[in-house]
């Protein structure tokens, strides 16, 4: 069965690039760019994996992650966090909030795809 990946990212060109890469690998991809709609977006049709940016309009990715971990039914959703902020404290905060994997921008496409496959197998 085709695995579903959702992307929450406010840069439209990054969404386009990620969608192309993931669809080429056979995944079904959906996306939104506003943090405020995140929880409804995920709970309506829970994906198999979420790619989440930290810096989003209205609600930060960190808050969305915390909400996901508290919401019944999606609390165990694998979340790959992408951020331009590679500081140690951001990584620690994301880990405390329950991130599955943390990658910093700019990322390598090959590495990203490898990580996605690994997360979905686990």
């Amino acid at each position: 069965m085709q695995k579903r990946i959702s992307i929450i990212e406010d840069e439209p060109f990054i969404i386009e690039a990620l969608s192309f890469l993931l669809e080429r690998e056979g995944f079904a991809v959906s996306s939104i760019s506003d943090g405020a709609d995140a929880l409804t977006f995920i709970t309506t049709s829970p994906p198999d994996l979420l790619i989440l940016d930290i810096m989003l309009p209205n609600v930060s990715g960190m808050k969305i992650l915390e909400d996901i971990r508290k919401t019944s039914g999606i609390e165990k959703l694998p979340v790959l966090m992408l951020t331009a902020k590679g500081q140690k404290k951001d990584r620690l905060a994301a880990e405390q909030a329950g991130v599955s994997l943390f990658m910093t921008k700019p990322f390598s496409n090959t590495e990203l795809i490898a990580n996605v496959h690994e997360m979905l197998q686990g």
């Binding site: 810096m55 609600v59 405390q96 700019p106």
Partner: protein
Amino acid sequence: MAGALLGTRIRENRKALQLSQKDLAQAAGLSASYLNLIEHNKRGIAGKTLNAIARALQIDPTDLTEGMNQALLDRVRTAAMRNNQLRTERDRIEEFAARFPGFARLIARQSDQIDVRDEQFAILSDQLKHDPYFAEAMHLLLSNITTIRATSDILATNSDMPPAMSQKFIANLAAEAAKLSKTAEDIFDHFEPTAEEHVSSLDMSAFEVLLEQNRYYLETLENGDQSVDDILNNLKLSDDDIDATRASLHSYAEMAQHLPIEPFIATAKKVNFDAIALAETFSTDLMAICFRLAHLPTKPDLPTFGLIQSDASGAVLYRKQLNSFSLPRYGGACPLWPVYRSLSQPLQPIRAMLDMPMGDRFHTISFAYPTQPARIGMPAVTEAIMLFTPDYAMLPRVAHDQTPQLDVGLQCTVCSRMDCSARREAYLLTNK
């Protein structure tokens, strides 16, 4: 030894004026044989004789004696040690200073100036780290680069892509490259100095500089190794700065005495650094606790707190900013910060989790207090403080998990929340 050098210096100065021993002796009212003994460092001189020789050499007596000034020798030695690659005759510094007091003073002064420049450079560098515009611009740059890297990689590795799709990615690439160049230009414009910025960039009080250099914890004052006067003496301040710095240091010392650091930390750890619980435990006011928490040593097991104190107009009275939470010096901060709301609810602490546009989160406690009660015809004078920390995970879970969340920014000009109803200035980086 020092006395011996005085003679050498007299001889050098005499030769520089192309005077014979006899000429100088005559001008100074001495016998030539006595001057010879002085010049060969076999007689020490001072007072009247020294003044007479200096007058005859048309120089200040201190030019002759300064070679004996240990402070000058130390400064020249420091200058010599600054560069280990150049071989300097360090064993002959006294002789050098004796022979060429003017050059010795020049070297010493230049060495001092290098110290001052180094200090200014460190301060500017620190300010750059705190510059919210720079942080926001770097974030945008990384976003631009990420898109370009991912898109160009797709184009390079998918030659069989349908033409319409490859055209779309090429267009994306061109648009993102244009954004990148706009961001780069904006950064360049931001850092192009104006005369006004030159003045304000170093416009920090001496106390603020001292705190920044010591990461807001004055250990020697805390443990009694130095008094306020000891610290003041080391600072070498101008008369204008001394009184203000002394008052600030006394306030710090009072805080350290009121809430000594070791028992404070021990108790703070027991209540997970919750300011309200600490105020109850120490039976003191919340403001004192907030100031103490903002002045802790930097250690991995201690959370980092920043603090802003403002008056009712929003003017900043005191601030301790953090790398990820910069504070304006003259107002102009985000009006949504709870510190401003607290002014309408004096004596009522407000907890809030602040979410910044760049994803940083801070736990805050804000609290307003009257400094002068209301009188007939005069309103009460009120000030407010906000204590904030990015290390909210070290606080009791209830303090952050069940705390109202607020989407705020630092300043409008660097805030990407375009729809914010509190916006009063345009976002400088219009790239997004």
